[in-house]
């Protein structure tokens, strides 16, 4: 990275504080030292925070946060060799990282006090870290802002605080040699895999909450520092390398898991993410709101279960796996066309209602085909249990295998199988999205009338998107049937407590970022992990979920992973694609006029 000296005018600080930077550094260091001391006297609090000299559990999170704060703070001194850390803003990352440390430490202290019944259970180490975090945060708030308030915003304390957490975009970095850039990408994916694995491996709810706090603040800090933008530039430049790196990182995941339960979470996330990506073709590219998408997953799963050779399957055949996959995909394709052909003549809300209806009809029909109220095809609410494990080329998916010293359990086997399917779906999404067909989909999403006037057969292309989406879901369903041993109608609801359902799928797409490749993957991972890790909020899950969606739509309507287009759509000012030398005045006027 370059050592460009920043020319952005530094804004004023929230309040005058002499030696703010020294204090921040000292605070972060104190918090760091605190993590090496005992935080509580008993190992009743999970993670065993009683050991001196060896941070564990939540202490590690504080430790990492403190190190990050320290690095950013030192970078702010302009120390050579550290300046590459903050190509964007120098002070807002410090503030965010310090807030993250404070959040994690504060949460831990609170959790210990609540769990063990009082603050007396805290050992000095906890206080040391907490005081350090407070000093660092307060001092960091005294650092000057990275950018001035724009003229239109009133300088209220809140606005000034929010502004102090923002930073200008980083300048363009000098190009490094290709191998170095690829190495950076590989490193970034290594870190990402590590962070993700850590999240899946969190053993208790407190650690997971602390993890979420740390990751949220840490990631924002990295964004403000401009590092994420730099990485994104590299990944867009080397897209195939990035894809390969992501695939390798995903492939490595089961080898880090010796715990069957966590490997299963991984496999389920992958299924969920794959289906969400399939839905993204329908919703994100073609703009068709499908509220019954999970039914296609169900069709694929049922089709695969029926021909799986399960002793309880009313159809007593056993297809080889490849044939079962084709059956599942074909069944979903047929259903997609059958549902799509009459309904895709509708637009917008009408389509949503019809697909919502179809989703429910699927579930009810499967329930009814039990031999009593209809022909026996699906065993009704019993579902099809004991689906046998797969055996491909003599590789039995049901038992553990030891490969190069790593033990891969049943879930890990299926995870790797599912990864192949995910890779296929990723490829389909990318290639179709960039082609003539993908452009036509986006055109239909943007303006259907204009698209037809350009010679696009809107109905046919919408049907194509719908059918393709259905087929991809069906593909995932065939694996899902085997992973979960059993298929029952209740797995395929509109909204339920277990993630792959229509509402969660749609949420994963919207939360992650519509029309993007990585968005639904990130969204699905989050939406699966959070309920799986926080069992205690099961009763409030949908409620919290609703709140989270509202907050997201208010503050980041383009989703976590922003499409370049979407970002421009929702934030008028961030005209990223306009080079800085072009005067913006007439462009802005054009936008308002064209909006009529």
């Amino acid at each position: 990275m370059t050592m460009t000296t920043k020319t952005t005018p530094a804004g004023s600080a929230l309040f005058a504080l002499p030696a703010a930077r020294h204090l921040t550094t000292a605070g972060a260091a104190i918090a760091l030292i605190g993590t090496f001391l005992a935080w509580t006297w008993t190992s009743e609090f999970p993670g065993d925070l009683t050991v001196t000299g060896y941070p564990g559990g939540l202490q590690v999170l504080t430790l990492v946060g403190a190190v990050l704060t320290l690095l950013f703070a030192l970078s702010g001194y302009g120390i050579k060799g550290l300046r590459w850390l903050t190509p964007g803003g120098a002070n807002s990352p410090v503030r965010l990282a310090a807030l993250g440390v404070l959040g994690t430490t504060g949460f831990t202290v609170g959790a210990i006090a609540v769990k063990l019944g009082g603050v007396v259970n805290l050992e000095p180490g906890a206080w040391v870290s907490l005081v350090g975090a407070i000093i660092a945060t307060v001092a960091a708030l005294g650092l000057p802002a990275d950018q001035e308030l724009d003229d239109t915003t009133r300088p209220t304390p809140l606005n000034r605080f929010v502004n102090s957490l923002r930073a200008p975009a980083p300048t363009r970095a000098k190009d490094l040699p290709n191998w170095a850039e690829i190495l950076i990408i590989a490193g970034a994916f290594g870190v990402a895999l590590h962070v993700f694995t850590y999240g899946i491996d969190t053993e208790y709810a407190e650690l997971f909450i602390g993890y979420i706090i740390s990751v949220a603040f840490g990631f924002t800090a990295l964004t403000r520092a401009g590092l994420i933008a730099r990485i994104t530039r590299l990944t867009t430049k080397h897209r195939n390398v990035t894809l390969a790196a992501a695939l390798i990182a995903a492939f490595c995941f089961p080898f880090t898991q010796q715990n069957e339960q966590y490997a299963l979470i991984g496999a389920n996330i992958l299924i969920f993410a794959t289906v969400a990506l399939g839905l993204n073709v329908v919703v994100g590219l073609a703009g068709l709101l499908d509220l019954g998408y999970v039914a296609f997953l169900g069709v694929g799963a049922y089709a695969a279960a029926l021909v799986s050779g399960s002793p309880l399957s009313p159809v007593g055949v056993q297809f080889p796996f490849w044939a079962a996959v084709l059956t599942g995909a074909a069944a979903s394709l047929v259903f997609g066309v059958v549902i799509g052909a009459p309904t895709l003549r509708l637009r917008g809300d009408y389509l949503a209602i019809v697909t919502l209806g179809f989703g429910e009809i699927f579930r009810l029909t499967v329930n009814a085909l039990n031999g009593v109220s209809g022909p026996d095809l699906t065993n009704g609410s019993q579902g099809i249990p004991s689906i046998p494990d797969l055996n491909l080329f003599g590789f039995d998916f049901g038992v553990s295998h030891t490969i190069a010293g790593f033990t891969l359990g049943r879930s890990a086997n299926y995870y790797l199988l599912m990864l192949v399917f995910t890779a296929v779906v990723v490829l389909v999404f990318r290639r179709s999205g960039e082609s003539r067909i993908g452009r036509a989909w986006v055109a239909i999403r943007e303006d259907e009338t204009a698209a037809t006037a350009m010679g696009i057969n809107a109905f046919r292309l919408k049907l194509l998107a719908f059918a393709l989406g259905a087929t991809l879901a069906g593909l995932a369903g065939t694996v899902q049937a085997h992973v979960s041993y059993t298929v029952t109608p209740e797995q395929y609801q509109f909204a339920g407590s277990v993630p792959p359902n229509s509402a969660f799928l749609l949420a994963a797409v919207i939360l992650g970022g519509m029309g993007t490749l990585s968005g639904p993957l990130v969204g699905a991972a989050l939406l699966y992990l959070i309920p799986a890790k926080l069992q205690f909020m099961q009763d409030y899950q949908l409620f919290l979920f609703g709140i989270a969606l509202i907050l997201l739509m208010r503050f980041r309507p383009e989703g976590l992973v922003a499409d370049r287009r979407k970002q421009l759509e929702f934030h008028e000012t961030g005209q990223l694609d306009v080079p800085p030398d072009v005067p913006l005045t007439d462009q802005a006027a054009g936008t308002t006029k064209a909006g009529a």
Binding site: R436, D447, T449, T452, G455, R565, K593, A594
Partner: protein, 306 residues
Amino acid sequence: MTTTTTTPATTTVLDASGVTMRFGGLTAVRGVDLTVNSGEIVGLIGPNGAGKTTFFNCLTGLYIPTEGKVSYKGTVLPPKPHLVTKAGIARTFQNIRLFSNMTVLENVLVGRHTRTKEGLWSALLRLPGYHKAEDASRERAMELLEFIGLQDKADHLARNLPYGDQRKLEIARALASDPGLLLLDEPTAGMNPQETRVTEELIFAIRDQGIAVLVIEHDMRFIFNLCDRVACLVQGEKLVEGTPGDVQADERVVAAYLGTPFEGAPGAEEVAEVEAAEAHAGTTGTAAPAKDTTPDTTSTDEEGTR
């Protein structure tokens, strides 16, 4: 600026005969005949609500005419917009309808849709012809962007373009489908005189490529400069058709725009009285606009394009 037709051996590109469009009890277009020959620029004028855009929508298949037929180069057009475009008629919209969140280049590439064949399998499997077809499309799209002068803004989002450029981009997008006839619905609405002149040059350049143009416009100076032939629609019926000079001179056209003279036309006495009053009032009364130049946004137009 030439207004004479270029080729003596003209062929009929568009032939609309007896086109009638009724919405329930309202007859928006009544028995309109119109032909456009190759290498010709034909103008369609008329006051607000005269049915110009409705007539356009009948031509492009957005509406199915209640009566009458529209044929393009001898074949009757199917009433489906995408098939009309495929046949060779491209259009722009009165209120700009670009794909605003796509880039300028992508907008033009979408216009290439009917002239390319690469399907989903070709895209997924990257079949041999895929890259070739994609490259050819891009090359053609860049050519068109150069033609309208937007080649440097190929990667900008369409929504970020200035207004005049958005109008131009709409034309480029329409041209991307290699049409034989281009329908322009108020291409200069909201433009300043300089931009209007540039558009005029652009339309002549398009005509010189052998593409016939049918244009709806309110700007009379623009249309009489541009067109070889002008038709005037009034209340859904074609009032008059002819050379710009004929139409301009036609009393009925003037009446349609300005109204018929009051029977008891003001005599010299009243005129003097009014002038005296105006002089007394001071500088307030300036000349009233001679022509109606506001873009027409009647309800039928809105329906037609949505």
